[in-house]
Symmetry: C2
Subunit: 285 residues, 2 copies
Amino acid sequence: MKLLNTQNVMIIGLGLMGGSYAKALKRLDFHISATDTNADSIEYALENGIIDEGYTSPDPDALGKADIVIFGLYPNVFKRWIAENQKYFKSGAIITDVTGVKSCIVYDIQNILRDDVEFIAAHPMAGREVYGVRNSTEKMFRDANFLVVPTEKNSEEAIEWCKEMGRLLGFINVTVLSPEEHDKMIGFVSQLTHCIAIALMTCSDSTHLADYTGDSFRDLTRIANINDKMWSELFLLNKEPLLADMDRFISEMQTMRSLLAEDNREGLREKMRLSTQRRAAFNKK
Amino acid sequence: MKLLNTQNVMIIGLGLMGGSYAKALKRLDFHISATDTNADSIEYALENGIIDEGYTSPDPDALGKADIVIFGLYPNVFKRWIAENQKYFKSGAIITDVTGVKSCIVYDIQNILRDDVEFIAAHPMAGREVYGVRNSTEKMFRDANFLVVPTEKNSEEAIEWCKEMGRLLGFINVTVLSPEEHDKMIGFVSQLTHCIAIALMTCSDSTHLADYTGDSFRDLTRIANINDKMWSELFLLNKEPLLADMDRFISEMQTMRSLLAEDNREGLREKMRLSTQRRAAFNKK
Protein backbone atom coordinates (compact mmCIF):
# COMPACT_ATOMS: atom_id res chain seq x y z
CA MET A 1 0.00 0.00 0.00
CA LYS A 2 1.39 3.36 -1.02
CA LEU A 3 0.28 6.38 0.96
CA LEU A 4 -0.04 8.52 -2.16
CA ASN A 5 -2.30 5.94 -3.82
CA THR A 6 -4.85 6.20 -1.06
CA GLN A 7 -7.51 8.88 -1.13
CA ASN A 8 -9.64 9.18 1.96
CA VAL A 9 -8.28 10.13 5.35
CA MET A 10 -10.40 10.22 8.50
CA ILE A 11 -9.01 12.04 11.52
CA ILE A 12 -10.59 11.13 14.86
CA GLY A 13 -9.94 13.87 17.41
CA LEU A 14 -9.32 17.21 15.73
CA GLY A 15 -7.09 18.98 18.24
CA LEU A 16 -3.67 20.55 17.83
CA MET A 17 -2.13 17.39 16.40
CA GLY A 18 -5.14 16.16 14.41
CA GLY A 19 -5.54 19.62 12.90
CA SER A 20 -1.87 19.78 11.97
CA TYR A 21 -2.05 16.37 10.26
CA ALA A 22 -5.15 17.62 8.41
CA LYS A 23 -3.36 20.73 7.13
CA ALA A 24 -0.27 18.79 6.03
CA LEU A 25 -2.23 16.03 4.28
CA LYS A 26 -4.73 18.40 2.65
CA ARG A 27 -1.82 20.09 0.90
CA LEU A 28 -0.96 16.68 -0.57
CA ASP A 29 -4.49 16.48 -2.06
CA PHE A 30 -5.96 13.86 0.21
CA HIS A 31 -9.67 14.05 0.92
CA ILE A 32 -9.82 14.87 4.64
CA SER A 33 -12.70 14.01 6.95
CA ALA A 34 -12.67 14.55 10.68
CA THR A 35 -14.67 13.51 13.70
CA ASP A 36 -14.66 15.45 16.95
CA THR A 37 -17.26 15.73 19.69
CA ASN A 38 -16.54 19.46 19.81
CA ALA A 39 -18.84 20.99 17.18
CA ASP A 40 -16.96 24.27 17.32
CA SER A 41 -13.69 22.60 16.23
CA ILE A 42 -15.40 20.89 13.30
CA GLU A 43 -17.13 24.10 12.25
CA TYR A 44 -13.91 26.09 12.43
CA ALA A 45 -12.03 23.47 10.39
CA LEU A 46 -14.71 23.36 7.71
CA GLU A 47 -14.94 27.15 7.47
CA ASN A 48 -11.18 27.46 7.14
CA GLY A 49 -10.79 24.69 4.57
CA ILE A 50 -8.73 22.53 6.92
CA ILE A 51 -11.04 19.55 6.31
CA ASP A 52 -13.50 18.54 3.58
CA GLU A 53 -16.07 16.80 5.75
CA GLY A 54 -16.76 16.95 9.47
CA TYR A 55 -18.69 14.90 12.00
CA THR A 56 -19.38 15.25 15.72
CA SER A 57 -19.94 11.51 16.23
CA PRO A 58 -18.69 8.38 14.42
CA ASP A 59 -20.34 8.30 11.00
CA PRO A 60 -20.67 4.76 9.59
CA ASP A 61 -20.66 5.91 5.93
CA ALA A 62 -17.68 8.22 6.27
CA LEU A 63 -15.70 5.62 8.25
CA GLY A 64 -16.58 2.98 5.68
CA LYS A 65 -14.90 5.09 2.98
CA ALA A 66 -11.69 5.90 4.88
CA ASP A 67 -8.48 4.25 3.61
CA ILE A 68 -6.54 5.75 6.50
CA VAL A 69 -7.83 6.52 10.01
CA ILE A 70 -5.65 8.71 12.23
CA PHE A 71 -6.37 8.85 15.95
CA GLY A 72 -5.59 12.03 17.89
CA LEU A 73 -7.41 10.96 21.07
CA TYR A 74 -6.33 10.48 24.67
CA PRO A 75 -5.11 6.90 25.25
CA ASN A 76 -8.09 5.62 27.23
CA VAL A 77 -10.66 7.28 24.98
CA PHE A 78 -8.84 5.74 21.99
CA LYS A 79 -9.28 2.16 23.29
CA ARG A 80 -12.97 2.67 24.00
CA TRP A 81 -13.52 4.21 20.58
CA ILE A 82 -11.99 1.22 18.81
CA ALA A 83 -14.03 -1.28 20.82
CA GLU A 84 -17.27 0.53 20.03
CA ASN A 85 -16.77 1.68 16.45
CA GLN A 86 -14.32 -0.61 14.65
CA LYS A 87 -17.26 -2.37 13.00
CA TYR A 88 -17.53 0.63 10.65
CA PHE A 89 -13.94 0.47 9.33
CA LYS A 90 -13.42 -0.30 5.64
CA SER A 91 -11.82 -3.70 5.11
CA GLY A 92 -8.08 -3.19 4.44
CA ALA A 93 -7.98 0.20 6.16
CA ILE A 94 -4.83 1.25 7.95
CA ILE A 95 -5.07 2.83 11.39
CA THR A 96 -2.45 4.99 13.07
CA ASP A 97 -2.25 7.29 16.09
CA VAL A 98 -0.27 10.12 17.69
CA THR A 99 -0.25 8.85 21.30
CA GLY A 100 2.73 9.79 23.46
CA VAL A 101 2.90 6.45 25.33
CA LYS A 102 2.94 3.10 23.58
CA SER A 103 3.33 -0.15 25.55
CA CYS A 104 0.08 0.42 27.44
CA ILE A 105 -1.94 0.97 24.30
CA VAL A 106 -0.45 -0.63 21.18
CA TYR A 107 -0.83 -4.26 22.28
CA ASP A 108 -4.34 -3.70 23.63
CA ILE A 109 -5.55 -2.08 20.42
CA GLN A 110 -3.92 -4.73 18.22
CA ASN A 111 -5.48 -7.49 20.32
CA ILE A 112 -9.03 -6.24 19.96
CA LEU A 113 -8.76 -5.01 16.35
CA ARG A 114 -10.45 -6.77 13.41
CA ASP A 115 -8.11 -9.01 11.39
CA ASP A 116 -8.72 -7.15 8.12
CA VAL A 117 -7.54 -3.79 9.50
CA GLU A 118 -3.96 -3.00 10.58
CA PHE A 119 -2.92 -0.65 13.39
CA ILE A 120 0.59 0.78 13.07
CA ALA A 121 1.46 3.08 15.98
CA ALA A 122 3.32 6.36 15.55
CA HIS A 123 4.45 9.19 17.77
CA PRO A 124 5.00 12.58 16.12
CA MET A 125 7.40 14.20 18.61
CA ALA A 126 6.15 17.70 18.04
CA GLY A 127 4.03 19.98 20.15
CA ARG A 128 3.22 23.48 21.22
CA GLU A 129 2.21 25.06 24.53
CA VAL A 130 -1.20 25.87 23.06
CA TYR A 131 -4.07 23.57 22.18
CA GLY A 132 -6.87 22.88 19.76
CA VAL A 133 -7.36 22.96 16.01
CA ARG A 134 -7.15 26.78 15.97
CA ASN A 135 -3.46 26.53 16.91
CA SER A 136 -2.64 23.65 14.60
CA THR A 137 0.20 24.10 12.11
CA GLU A 138 2.36 21.80 10.00
CA LYS A 139 5.32 24.02 10.86
CA MET A 140 5.74 22.17 14.15
CA PHE A 141 6.73 19.03 12.21
CA ARG A 142 9.81 20.66 10.67
CA ASP A 143 12.95 19.86 12.68
CA ALA A 144 10.97 17.29 14.67
CA ASN A 145 11.19 13.49 14.96
CA PHE A 146 8.57 11.03 13.78
CA LEU A 147 8.66 7.66 15.52
CA VAL A 148 7.13 4.55 14.01
CA VAL A 149 6.41 2.03 16.80
CA PRO A 150 5.60 -1.43 15.39
CA THR A 151 5.10 -4.74 17.17
CA GLU A 152 5.67 -8.26 15.83
CA LYS A 153 2.09 -8.21 14.57
CA ASN A 154 2.81 -5.44 12.06
CA SER A 155 3.54 -6.09 8.39
CA GLU A 156 6.66 -4.70 6.71
CA GLU A 157 4.29 -2.94 4.32
CA ALA A 158 2.56 -1.05 7.12
CA ILE A 159 5.89 -0.07 8.70
CA GLU A 160 7.12 1.31 5.36
CA TRP A 161 3.80 3.10 4.81
CA CYS A 162 4.06 4.77 8.22
CA LYS A 163 7.66 5.88 7.61
CA GLU A 164 6.55 7.38 4.31
CA MET A 165 3.76 9.24 6.07
CA GLY A 166 6.24 10.73 8.57
CA ARG A 167 8.35 12.03 5.69
CA LEU A 168 5.32 13.36 3.78
CA LEU A 169 4.10 15.19 6.90
CA GLY A 170 7.40 17.05 6.84
CA PHE A 171 9.34 15.49 9.75
CA ILE A 172 13.08 15.76 9.43
CA ASN A 173 13.80 12.41 11.14
CA VAL A 174 11.83 9.20 10.88
CA THR A 175 12.87 6.36 13.21
CA VAL A 176 11.56 2.91 14.13
CA LEU A 177 11.45 1.84 17.82
CA SER A 178 9.72 -0.96 19.74
CA PRO A 179 6.99 0.10 22.22
CA GLU A 180 9.32 -0.67 25.14
CA GLU A 181 12.26 1.27 23.67
CA HIS A 182 9.90 4.14 22.89
CA ASP A 183 8.51 4.36 26.42
CA LYS A 184 11.93 4.21 28.07
CA MET A 185 13.21 6.94 25.77
CA ILE A 186 10.17 9.17 26.16
CA GLY A 187 10.24 8.76 29.95
CA PHE A 188 13.69 10.30 30.00
CA VAL A 189 13.75 12.91 27.26
CA SER A 190 10.19 14.17 27.57
CA GLN A 191 8.38 13.18 30.76
CA LEU A 192 11.28 13.63 33.18
CA THR A 193 12.03 17.07 31.69
CA HIS A 194 8.39 18.11 32.10
CA CYS A 195 8.48 16.85 35.71
CA ILE A 196 11.57 18.94 36.39
CA ALA A 197 10.07 22.07 34.87
CA ILE A 198 6.92 21.62 36.97
CA ALA A 199 8.88 21.05 40.20
CA LEU A 200 10.99 24.14 39.53
CA MET A 201 7.81 26.21 39.31
CA THR A 202 6.05 24.61 42.28
CA CYS A 203 8.98 24.26 44.74
CA SER A 204 8.71 27.95 45.66
CA ASP A 205 6.82 30.95 44.42
CA SER A 206 9.33 32.66 42.17
CA THR A 207 6.92 34.86 40.25
CA HIS A 208 8.40 38.00 41.84
CA LEU A 209 11.67 37.08 40.12
CA ALA A 210 10.19 37.25 36.62
CA ASP A 211 11.96 40.54 35.90
CA TYR A 212 15.38 39.02 36.59
CA THR A 213 15.21 35.77 34.73
CA GLY A 214 17.50 35.14 31.80
CA ASP A 215 17.09 32.82 28.86
CA SER A 216 18.24 29.73 30.74
CA PHE A 217 15.44 29.92 33.27
CA ARG A 218 12.89 30.77 30.61
CA ASP A 219 14.00 27.87 28.38
CA LEU A 220 13.97 25.45 31.26
CA THR A 221 10.46 26.35 32.39
CA ARG A 222 8.77 26.96 29.03
CA ILE A 223 7.25 23.47 29.27
CA ALA A 224 6.02 24.18 32.82
CA ASN A 225 3.00 25.61 31.01
CA ILE A 226 1.35 22.22 30.71
CA ASN A 227 -1.99 20.59 29.86
CA ASP A 228 -2.70 18.90 33.21
CA LYS A 229 -5.32 16.48 31.90
CA MET A 230 -3.16 15.10 29.10
CA TRP A 231 0.16 15.02 30.93
CA SER A 232 -1.13 13.44 34.15
CA GLU A 233 -2.51 10.65 31.96
CA LEU A 234 0.79 10.29 30.06
CA PHE A 235 2.76 10.16 33.34
CA LEU A 236 0.47 7.52 34.86
CA LEU A 237 0.50 5.40 31.70
CA ASN A 238 4.31 5.35 31.69
CA LYS A 239 4.70 5.09 35.43
CA GLU A 240 7.48 2.52 35.81
CA PRO A 241 10.04 3.98 33.37
CA LEU A 242 9.30 7.50 34.63
CA LEU A 243 9.68 6.55 38.31
CA ALA A 244 13.05 4.94 37.54
CA ASP A 245 14.19 8.12 35.74
CA MET A 246 12.97 10.35 38.57
CA ASP A 247 14.87 8.23 41.09
CA ARG A 248 18.09 8.45 39.09
CA PHE A 249 17.73 12.21 38.69
CA ILE A 250 16.81 12.90 42.34
CA SER A 251 19.76 10.80 43.50
CA GLU A 252 22.10 12.77 41.21
CA MET A 253 20.77 16.09 42.54
CA GLN A 254 21.49 14.78 46.05
CA THR A 255 25.04 13.93 45.01
CA MET A 256 25.52 17.45 43.63
CA ARG A 257 24.11 18.84 46.88
CA SER A 258 26.60 16.82 48.93
CA LEU A 259 29.54 17.90 46.77
CA LEU A 260 28.57 21.54 47.29
CA ALA A 261 27.90 21.12 51.04
CA GLU A 262 31.35 19.53 51.43
CA ASP A 263 33.10 22.27 49.38
CA ASN A 264 34.22 19.55 47.00
CA ARG A 265 35.30 21.79 44.14
CA GLU A 266 36.98 19.02 42.16
CA GLY A 267 33.91 16.79 42.48
CA LEU A 268 31.68 19.58 41.16
CA ARG A 269 34.06 20.29 38.30
CA GLU A 270 34.11 16.61 37.37
CA LYS A 271 30.30 16.57 37.13
CA MET A 272 30.38 19.73 35.04
CA ARG A 273 32.98 18.30 32.67
CA LEU A 274 30.98 15.08 32.23
CA SER A 275 27.85 17.15 31.63
CA THR A 276 29.60 19.30 29.01
CA GLN A 277 31.06 16.25 27.30
CA ARG A 278 27.72 14.42 27.11
CA ARG A 279 25.76 17.49 26.06
CA ALA A 280 28.02 17.79 23.02
CA ALA A 281 26.32 14.70 21.56
CA PHE A 282 23.10 16.69 21.40
CA ASN A 283 24.64 19.58 19.47
CA LYS A 284 25.58 17.58 16.41
CA LYS A 285 22.17 17.56 14.81
CA MET B 1 29.99 62.09 37.25
CA LYS B 2 28.42 61.48 33.86
CA LEU B 3 29.53 58.40 31.97
CA LEU B 4 29.61 60.22 28.67
CA ASN B 5 31.87 62.93 30.10
CA THR B 6 34.55 60.39 30.96
CA GLN B 7 37.09 59.31 28.39
CA ASN B 8 39.35 56.49 29.38
CA VAL B 9 38.10 53.00 30.11
CA MET B 10 40.37 50.19 31.33
CA ILE B 11 39.04 46.63 31.13
CA ILE B 12 40.81 44.09 33.35
CA GLY B 13 40.19 40.58 32.08
CA LEU B 14 39.38 40.55 28.39
CA GLY B 15 37.19 37.46 28.04
CA LEU B 16 33.71 37.04 26.64
CA MET B 17 32.22 39.69 28.90
CA GLY B 18 35.17 42.10 28.95
CA GLY B 19 35.38 41.90 25.16
CA SER B 20 31.66 42.56 24.79
CA TYR B 21 31.91 45.62 27.07
CA ALA B 22 34.86 46.81 24.96
CA LYS B 23 32.91 46.51 21.72
CA ALA B 24 29.83 48.27 23.10
CA LEU B 25 31.81 51.13 24.69
CA LYS B 26 34.13 51.57 21.70
CA ARG B 27 31.10 52.30 19.57
CA LEU B 28 30.29 55.13 21.99
CA ASP B 29 33.74 56.65 21.32
CA PHE B 30 35.42 55.83 24.59
CA HIS B 31 39.15 55.21 24.56
CA ILE B 32 39.43 51.52 25.50
CA SER B 33 42.45 49.92 27.14
CA ALA B 34 42.55 46.33 28.31
CA THR B 35 44.75 44.17 30.51
CA ASP B 36 44.80 40.38 30.23
CA THR B 37 47.52 37.87 31.09
CA ASN B 38 46.67 36.08 27.85
CA ALA B 39 48.81 37.79 25.18
CA ASP B 40 46.81 36.14 22.41
CA SER B 41 43.57 37.77 23.58
CA ILE B 42 45.20 41.21 23.70
CA GLU B 43 46.77 40.76 20.28
CA TYR B 44 43.48 39.61 18.75
CA ALA B 45 41.61 42.56 20.27
CA LEU B 46 44.18 45.07 19.03
CA GLU B 47 44.25 43.60 15.53
CA ASN B 48 40.47 43.65 15.30
CA GLY B 49 40.06 47.18 16.62
CA ILE B 50 38.21 46.02 19.72
CA ILE B 51 40.59 47.95 21.99
CA ASP B 52 42.93 50.90 21.53
CA GLU B 53 45.66 49.81 23.94
CA GLY B 54 46.52 46.45 25.43
CA TYR B 55 48.63 45.15 28.31
CA THR B 56 49.47 41.69 29.62
CA SER B 57 50.17 42.94 33.16
CA PRO B 58 48.94 45.91 35.21
CA ASP B 59 50.45 49.06 33.67
CA PRO B 60 50.84 51.92 36.18
CA ASP B 61 50.64 54.67 33.52
CA ALA B 62 47.58 53.26 31.75
CA LEU B 63 45.80 52.60 35.06
CA GLY B 64 46.64 56.09 36.22
CA LYS B 65 44.77 57.54 33.23
CA ALA B 66 41.63 55.40 33.50
CA ASP B 67 38.43 57.19 34.57
CA ILE B 68 36.58 53.89 34.63
CA VAL B 69 37.99 50.45 35.45
CA ILE B 70 35.84 47.42 34.60
CA PHE B 71 36.73 44.04 36.10
CA GLY B 72 35.93 40.87 34.18
CA LEU B 73 37.94 38.58 36.47
CA TYR B 74 37.03 35.53 38.58
CA PRO B 75 35.95 36.60 42.10
CA ASN B 76 39.07 35.50 43.97
CA VAL B 77 41.47 36.84 41.36
CA PHE B 78 39.57 40.13 41.46
CA LYS B 79 40.18 40.61 45.21
CA ARG B 80 43.88 39.82 44.91
CA TRP B 81 44.23 42.19 41.96
CA ILE B 82 42.71 45.08 43.92
CA ALA B 83 44.93 44.47 46.94
CA GLU B 84 48.06 44.44 44.81
CA ASN B 85 47.37 47.12 42.20
CA GLN B 86 44.92 49.68 43.56
CA LYS B 87 47.83 52.03 44.24
CA TYR B 88 47.90 52.79 40.50
CA PHE B 89 44.27 53.95 40.24
CA LYS B 90 43.59 57.56 39.29
CA SER B 91 42.08 59.53 42.15
CA GLY B 92 38.32 59.79 41.61
CA ALA B 93 38.17 56.74 39.34
CA ILE B 94 35.09 54.58 39.38
CA ILE B 95 35.41 50.80 39.50
CA THR B 96 32.81 48.26 38.46
CA ASP B 97 32.68 44.52 37.76
CA VAL B 98 30.68 41.76 36.07
CA THR B 99 30.87 39.13 38.82
CA GLY B 100 27.95 36.69 39.10
CA VAL B 101 28.00 36.52 42.93
CA LYS B 102 27.96 39.59 45.12
CA SER B 103 27.79 39.29 48.95
CA CYS B 104 31.09 37.44 49.13
CA ILE B 105 32.95 40.05 47.12
CA VAL B 106 31.38 43.51 47.21
CA TYR B 107 31.93 44.18 50.92
CA ASP B 108 35.48 42.81 50.85
CA ILE B 109 36.48 44.98 47.90
CA GLN B 110 34.84 48.09 49.35
CA ASN B 111 36.59 47.50 52.69
CA ILE B 112 40.08 47.36 51.23
CA LEU B 113 39.59 50.02 48.54
CA ARG B 114 41.20 53.46 48.70
CA ASP B 115 38.86 56.23 49.91
CA ASP B 116 39.25 58.32 46.74
CA VAL B 117 38.04 55.54 44.43
CA GLU B 118 34.49 54.12 44.39
CA PHE B 119 33.49 50.54 43.61
CA ILE B 120 29.92 50.08 42.37
CA ALA B 121 29.11 46.43 41.66
CA ALA B 122 27.14 45.28 38.65
CA HIS B 123 26.00 41.99 37.17
CA PRO B 124 25.27 41.92 33.44
CA MET B 125 22.93 38.91 33.24
CA ALA B 126 24.02 37.87 29.79
CA GLY B 127 26.14 35.01 28.60
CA ARG B 128 26.88 32.51 25.90
CA GLU B 129 27.98 28.87 25.91
CA VAL B 130 31.30 29.90 24.36
CA TYR B 131 34.22 31.78 25.85
CA GLY B 132 36.90 34.34 25.25
CA VAL B 133 37.21 37.67 23.49
CA ARG B 134 36.88 35.98 20.07
CA ASN B 135 33.24 35.16 20.90
CA SER B 136 32.42 38.50 22.46
CA THR B 137 29.46 40.43 21.12
CA GLU B 138 27.28 43.29 22.34
CA LYS B 139 24.29 41.47 20.90
CA MET B 140 24.08 39.36 24.03
CA PHE B 141 23.12 42.49 26.03
CA ARG B 142 19.92 43.03 24.06
CA ASP B 143 16.89 41.53 25.82
CA ALA B 144 19.06 40.94 28.90
CA ASN B 145 18.98 42.38 32.42
CA PHE B 146 21.64 44.61 33.96
CA LEU B 147 21.74 44.58 37.75
CA VAL B 148 23.31 47.37 39.77
CA VAL B 149 24.24 46.03 43.22
CA PRO B 150 25.09 48.88 45.64
CA THR B 151 25.81 48.79 49.36
CA GLU B 152 25.29 51.56 51.93
CA LYS B 153 28.80 52.74 51.12
CA ASN B 154 27.87 53.72 47.58
CA SER B 155 26.99 57.29 46.55
CA GLU B 156 23.76 58.06 44.71
CA GLU B 157 25.95 59.47 41.96
CA ALA B 158 27.75 56.15 41.42
CA ILE B 159 24.48 54.21 41.44
CA GLU B 160 23.04 56.55 38.77
CA TRP B 161 26.26 56.31 36.77
CA CYS B 162 26.09 52.51 36.82
CA LYS B 163 22.44 52.48 35.75
CA GLU B 164 23.33 54.78 32.87
CA MET B 165 26.15 52.43 31.86
CA GLY B 166 23.73 49.46 31.77
CA ARG B 167 21.45 51.40 29.44
CA LEU B 168 24.34 52.58 27.23
CA LEU B 169 25.63 49.01 26.93
CA GLY B 170 22.26 48.15 25.43
CA PHE B 171 20.53 46.20 28.22
CA ILE B 172 16.76 46.25 28.03
CA ASN B 173 16.25 46.21 31.81
CA VAL B 174 18.31 47.95 34.46
CA THR B 175 17.46 47.11 38.08
CA VAL B 176 18.96 47.87 41.51
CA LEU B 177 19.25 45.08 44.10
CA SER B 178 21.16 44.67 47.38
CA PRO B 179 23.98 42.06 47.39
CA GLU B 180 21.82 39.72 49.53
CA GLU B 181 18.75 40.06 47.29
CA HIS B 182 20.96 39.55 44.27
CA ASP B 183 22.51 36.33 45.57
CA LYS B 184 19.19 34.83 46.64
CA MET B 185 17.69 35.63 43.25
CA ILE B 186 20.68 34.34 41.26
CA GLY B 187 20.81 31.14 43.34
CA PHE B 188 17.31 30.31 42.17
CA VAL B 189 17.03 31.58 38.60
CA SER B 190 20.55 30.83 37.44
CA GLN B 191 22.55 28.48 39.66
CA LEU B 192 19.76 26.03 40.49
CA THR B 193 18.82 25.78 36.81
CA HIS B 194 22.44 25.06 35.86
CA CYS B 195 22.59 22.41 38.61
CA ILE B 196 19.47 20.75 37.22
CA ALA B 197 20.79 20.74 33.67
CA ILE B 198 24.05 19.17 34.85
CA ALA B 199 22.28 16.49 36.92
CA LEU B 200 20.04 15.64 33.98
CA MET B 201 23.13 15.00 31.86
CA THR B 202 25.11 13.12 34.52
CA CYS B 203 22.31 10.98 36.09
CA SER B 204 22.51 8.53 33.20
CA ASP B 205 24.25 8.32 29.86
CA SER B 206 21.57 9.49 27.46
CA THR B 207 23.82 10.29 24.51
CA HIS B 208 22.31 7.40 22.50
CA LEU B 209 18.99 9.25 22.74
CA ALA B 210 20.29 12.35 20.94
CA ASP B 211 18.35 11.44 17.77
CA TYR B 212 15.06 11.39 19.62
CA THR B 213 15.21 14.53 21.67
CA GLY B 214 12.80 17.34 21.03
CA ASP B 215 13.11 21.03 21.76
CA SER B 216 12.15 20.70 25.42
CA PHE B 217 15.08 18.45 26.25
CA ARG B 218 17.45 20.54 24.15
CA ASP B 219 16.32 23.79 25.78
CA LEU B 220 16.58 22.31 29.23
CA THR B 221 20.12 21.02 28.76
CA ARG B 222 21.61 23.81 26.62
CA ILE B 223 23.26 25.20 29.76
CA ALA B 224 24.64 21.75 30.66
CA ASN B 225 27.51 22.81 28.42
CA ILE B 226 29.26 24.64 31.22
CA ASN B 227 32.60 26.24 32.11
CA ASP B 228 33.53 24.04 35.09
CA LYS B 229 36.16 26.38 36.52
CA MET B 230 33.91 29.44 36.60
CA TRP B 231 30.69 27.75 37.66
CA SER B 232 32.19 25.63 40.45
CA GLU B 233 33.55 28.87 41.88
CA LEU B 234 30.18 30.63 41.53
CA PHE B 235 28.39 27.70 43.21
CA LEU B 236 30.84 27.61 46.14
CA LEU B 237 30.73 31.37 46.62
CA ASN B 238 26.93 31.30 46.84
CA LYS B 239 26.73 28.06 48.79
CA GLU B 240 24.05 28.81 51.40
CA PRO B 241 21.34 30.26 49.12
CA LEU B 242 22.01 27.56 46.51
CA LEU B 243 21.84 24.69 49.04
CA ALA B 244 18.50 26.01 50.29
CA ASP B 245 17.17 26.14 46.72
CA MET B 246 18.46 22.64 45.93
CA ASP B 247 16.75 21.29 49.05
CA ARG B 248 13.44 22.87 48.12
CA PHE B 249 13.66 21.56 44.57
CA ILE B 250 14.73 18.00 45.56
CA SER B 251 11.92 17.83 48.10
CA GLU B 252 9.40 18.91 45.44
CA MET B 253 10.69 16.26 43.01
CA GLN B 254 10.20 13.70 45.79
CA THR B 255 6.62 14.90 46.27
CA MET B 256 5.96 14.51 42.53
CA ARG B 257 7.49 11.05 42.68
CA SER B 258 5.17 10.03 45.53
CA LEU B 259 2.10 11.38 43.74
CA LEU B 260 2.98 9.30 40.68
CA ALA B 261 3.85 6.18 42.69
CA GLU B 262 0.47 6.42 44.46
CA ASP B 263 -1.45 6.96 41.19
CA ASN B 264 -2.62 10.28 42.61
CA ARG B 265 -3.91 11.78 39.38
CA GLU B 266 -5.62 14.74 41.04
CA GLY B 267 -2.47 15.57 43.03
CA LEU B 268 -0.38 15.56 39.83
CA ARG B 269 -2.94 17.71 38.03
CA GLU B 270 -2.93 20.18 40.90
CA LYS B 271 0.87 20.54 40.64
CA MET B 272 0.58 20.99 36.88
CA ARG B 273 -2.08 23.66 37.22
CA LEU B 274 -0.03 25.56 39.81
CA SER B 275 3.01 25.27 37.54
CA THR B 276 1.07 26.59 34.53
CA GLN B 277 -0.38 29.44 36.55
CA ARG B 278 3.00 30.55 37.94
CA ARG B 279 4.81 30.16 34.63
CA ALA B 280 2.37 32.67 33.11
CA ALA B 281 4.09 35.42 35.13
CA PHE B 282 7.24 34.79 33.11
CA ASN B 283 5.52 35.16 29.75
CA LYS B 284 4.47 38.75 30.23
CA LYS B 285 7.77 40.36 29.36
